[in-house]
C-alpha cells in the first residue's frame, strides 16, 4: 500500500463519492486548512494538496484517469470490489433490506506466485462403521493425497476411534512412497470420538505451525460424536486463532452435519457430504489443488454496523459456498489465486429521523496474512454506505447479487423445512419441500427436485426426513451457490 494518501483520503471520501460530496468536502476542509486561517507549518503544501485533490476529482475525465492510475500503481496484493443491490437507499418510513456483495481477488502482480508450502494433517476415523469399502477408499485417497504433496510440505496422519494414534508424525518426508505401507495397516475398530482425533491432529500441526505455511486439518468421519462436541468447538476456536483451518468430509448419512458445519465454519473451512465413497477421491483431489492455490490465510472480517442497521445474514459464495455466522470476527477462510473470495451480506436498515445525504451501513476491515510474506498483517478497509434518494424504477441489482440470492433463497428454504420437520410441523415442512422442488425444476435441477419431492412425501408418511435426503438437499443446495464458472471448474 502506498504511503502517500490518495486524493480520496485527503478529502476523506469513499471511492464512489458523488460530485456533490466532493464539492462539499472541499468547501469544509478548505475553510479549516486555508493558509489564511491555518498558520501551522506545512499548511501551504497541505492546502495545495487539497486543491489538487479537489480539482482532479471534480473533473470527470481527470478523475477517471486518476482512478485508473490508482489501480495501476497500487501495490496492494488483494483487490476489493463492492456491489450493492441498490444504487441509492430510498428514504422510507419502514425497514428495508440492502444486499452487499464483497469480492476479493489477487492482484495480477502477485498471481504468478509459486504454490505455498503446506502443513497438513489427515485425521481419519477408523471406527467399526468404517470397516470395508469405506476405510479402503479413505486409505487410497490418503495415499494419493500424500503422493501429490511436495517434498517440503509438512505432513502428518492421525487415526482415531475412541482414542487417537499418530500414524505419521508431522515432518517433511523425503520419500512419500515409503509411507504407504503404514497407511495400509490401518484397521477399523471402536467408536467415534472426534475430539480425540482432532486434538491429536491439532498437536501435530502445532509442531510446525507458522505463518509462512498453509496449516490445515482434514477430518474424515462417518459417525456421530457424543459428549465431546463442545470440546471440539473450543478446539476449532483455538485453531482459528492460530491460523489453522479445518475441512470435514462426512461419509454416508450417519454423521452430525450441524455439528461439523459449525466446527468447520469456526475454523474457516467447510464441510462436504460424501454420499458415495467413490466421490471421496475426487473431493480429496480438489481439496489438494485448492490448498496449493492458497494466497492469503487468516482472512477475518471485522464489521461494525451503523446505528439502526443490523446484519441479517452472511454467506460465502466462493471459493467454498457456505453460510457464515455473524460475530465480532468472522472467519472468511482463504483467498485463492485462481478463485475470488466472494461474500454476500444482507443488511436490515431501519428508518431514521435524520435527513442524511449519505447513510452509513457498516464499517470495518478485512484482515489477512500472506504465507509468502508472513511478517505483515494486511488490513483492507471496508466502508459501506449509500446515498439516500429515490431509485430509478427500472434499476436492476447486479447479476452477481441476483445469482447468489437465487440459491441462498433455496438454501434458506431447505433450512426452514428441516427446522419445521424437526419441530414436528409435518404439513408445513412437506409443502415447503414441494415449493422447493418447483424452484429446483425451474433452474433445471431435476434430480434435486425429485429428491425434494420424495422427502415431501416421506415426511407425510413417517413424520421424518431421511438422513440421506436431508443431507443431499442441504449440501447440493449449498454447492448451487457457487457461481457458474466455479461450478464448471469443479465438475471438470
Amino acid at each position: 500500500m502506498s504511503s502517500k494518501p490518495s486524493y480520496y483520503e485527503i478529502l476523506g471520501l469513499p471511492k464512489e463519492a458523488t460530485q456533490e460530496e466532493i464539492r462539499r468536502a472541499y468547501r469544509e476542509l478548505s475553510l479549516r486548512q486555508h493558509p489564511d486561517i491555518n498558520h501551522s507549518p506545512g499548511a501551504n503544501t497541505q492546502f495545495l494538496n487539497l486543491k489538487e485533490a479537489f480539482e482532479t476529482l471534480i473533473n470527470p475525465s481527470r478523475r477517471k484517469d486518476y482512478d485508473h492510475k490508482l489501480v495501476q500503481e497500487s501495490d496492494a496484493p488483494i483487490l476489493e470490489n463492492v456491489l450493492y443491490s441498490r444504487s441509492r437507499l430510498p428514504d422510507l418510513k419502514e425497514p428495508q433490506l440492502l444486499y452487499v456483495y464483497l469480492d476479493y481477488s489477487v492482484s495480477s502482480k502477485f498471481a504468478s506466485q509459486v504454490n505455498p508450502t503446506l502443513n497438513f494433517c489427515l485425521v481419519i476415523d477408523r471406527s467399526t462403521s468404517m470397516q470395508g469399502e469405506r476405510l479402503d477408499t479413505v486409505k487410497a485417497a490418503a495415499i494419493e493425497f500424500i503422493r501429490q504433496s511436495k517434498e517440503d510440505d509438512v505432513l502428518s496422519l492421525v487415526t482415531f476411534s475412541d482414542r487417537a494414534e499418530v500414524v505419521l508424525p508431522a515432518k517433511r518426508y523425503p520419500d512419500h512412497r515409503s509411507l504407504e505401507a503404514q497407511i495400509h495397516f490401518i484397521q477399523a475398530s471402536g467408536g467415534t470420538e472426534i475430539y480425540q482425533g482432532l486434538e491429536a491432529g491439532f498437536q501435530q500441526i502445532q509442531w510446525n505451525q507458522n505463518r509462512a505455511l498453509v496449516n490445515h486439518i482434514i477430518l474424515i468421519t462417518d459417525g456421530h460424536t457424543y459428549g465431546d462436541d463442545l470440546a471440539c468447538l473450543d478446539l476449532a476456536n483455538r485453531a482459528a486463532s492460530q491460523g489453522v483451518r479445518i475441512t470435514a468430509l462426512g461419509i454416508g448419512s450417519d454423521w452430525n452435519d450441524d455439528f461439523l458445519d459449525n466446527l468447520t465454519q469456526i475454523a474457516g473451512g467447510n464441510t462436504y457430504y460424501i454420499s458415495k465413497t467413490s466421490d471421496l477421491r475426487k473431493l480429496m483431489h480438489e481439496k489438494f489443488n485448492s490448498l496449493n492455490q492458497v494466497f492469503a490465510e487468516r482472512v477475518f472480517l471485522k464489521l461494525k454496523t451503523a446505528p439502526r442497521v443490523a446484519l441479517g445474514g452472511i454467506y460465502r459464495i466462493q471459493p467454498e459456498a457456505a453460510p457464515l455466522t455473524a460475530s465480532e470476527q468472522i472467519n472468511l477462510g482463504t483467498i485463492l489465486r485462481d478463485t475470488n473470495l466472494s461474500i454476500l451480506l444482507e443488511f436490515i436498515v431501519q428508518p431514521i429521523d435524520e435527513d442524511l445525504y449519505r447513510r452509513e451501513i457498516a464499517n470495518g476491515t478485512v484482515n489477512l496474512i500472506l504465507p509468502s510474506d508472513p511478517g505483515t498483517t494486511h488490513r483492507i478497509p471496508v466502508t459501506l454506505s449509500r446515498i439516500v434518494g429515490s431509485l430509478d424504477k427500472k434499476e436492476m441489482p447486479p447479476q452477481e447479487i441476483i445469482q447468489a440470492l437465487t440459491h441462498i433463497t433455496l438454501y434458506r428454504m431447505q433450512e426452514r423445512a428441516r427446522q419445521e420437520a424437526s419441530a414436528g410441523n409435518v404439513d408445513e415442512a412437506s409443502s415447503r419441500l414441494q415449493r422447493l422442488a418447483t424452484q429446483f425444476l425451474s433452474i433445471g435441477e431435476k434430480d434435486l427436485a425429485q429428491t425434494a419431492l420424495m422427502e415431501a412425501e416421506r415426511i407425510q408418511q413417517t413424520s421424518m426426513l431421511s438422513p440421506e435426503g436431508e443431507k443431499a438437499i442441504k449440501y447440493a443446495t449449498r454447492s448451487l451457490m457457487l457461481p457458474r464458472k466455479a461450478k464448471e471448474v469443479r465438475s471438470s
Binding site: 443491490s85 441498490r86 427500472k394 409443502s431 422447493l436 422442488a437 418447483t438 424452484q439
Partner: protein
C-alpha cells in the same frame, strides 16, 4: 412491504426473493398493485395448494386484462396469464403432489405427450420467454425445437407445441386469430 405475487407472503422493501416460495420479486417492483391472479372462482388459491393456479375448464374468450392468453388449438379453450412472473405448464397426475400453474391434464395432455412439468413461461416487461423444462417429448415454437432450459422469446401468433399439443400465443392488445407476422 412487498407482497409476493405468487404466495401473498409479505417481505421487507428491498427484498429480491420471497422467503416462502422462493420466487423472484424483482419484476413486481414496477407496479405496486397486488391483484389476484385468477379471474375465476378459484381465485386466491396459492400455487402450493392442490389446485391449479389457472383454472382452464371454461371456454371463455380471451380476457382483455390478460397479458398473454394461451389458446389450445382445436379447442375453444383460452387460458389467460394475468401477471408478470413465471408460470409452469404441465399436467397433474394422481399421487403427484406438484401441480403445475397451468394444468393441461383435462385436455388429453397425457395422450399428447405433455410432461408433468413441461415448460415455463416468463413474463417480464414486454418480453415473453418460454423454456422447456427438460420434458420427455420436447417443446417447439413454430416447429423449431427448443434446447431444454434455454429461454426462447415468444410473440403474438407464435404456435407452441408441447409434445403434440399445439397452443397459440395471443398477447395483450392483439385480437385473437391474427395470423403471425414475421418481423
Amino acid at each position: 412491504m412487498i407482497t409476493c405475487p405468487h404466495c401473498g407472503n409479505k417481505e421487507l422493501e428491498g427484498a429480491l426473493f420471497c422467503k416462502e416460495c422462493g420466487s423472484q420479486l424483482l419484476i413486481e417492483s414496477e407496479e405496486k398493485k397486488t391483484s389476484r391472479i385468477d379471474v375465476n372462482s378459484e381465485a386466491g388459491l396459492y400455487p402450493t395448494s392442490r389446485q391449479p393456479l389457472y383454472s382452464s375448464g371454461l371456454g371463455y374468450a380471451p380476457s382483455s386484462d390478460a397479458l398473454v392468453t394461451l389458446h389450445l388449438s382445436g379447442l375453444d379453450v383460452y387460458i389467460p396469464i394475468m401477471e408478470e412472473g413465471e408460470v409452469i405448464i404441465g399436467r397433474s397426475s394422481e399421487g403427484q403432489p406438484m401441480i403445475p400453474d397451468i394444468d393441461l391434464g383435462k385436455y388429453k395432455a397425457f395422450q399428447s405427450g405433455v410432461s408433468r412439468m413441461h415448460a415455463a413461461i416468463r413474463l417480464f416487461g414486454n418480453q415473453i420467454l418460454i423454456s422447456d423444462l427438460g420434458s420427455s417429448n420436447g417443446t417447439s415454437v413454430n416447429e423449431t425445437k427448443l434446447e431444454p432450459y434455454s429461454p426462447h422469446p415468444l410473440k403474438n401468433g407464435d404456435v407452441i407445441t408441447l409434445g403434440r399439443m399445439r397452443i397459440e400465443v395471443i398477447t395483450k392488445d392483439m385480437k385473437p386469430r391474427t395470423n403471425s407476422m414475421e418481423v
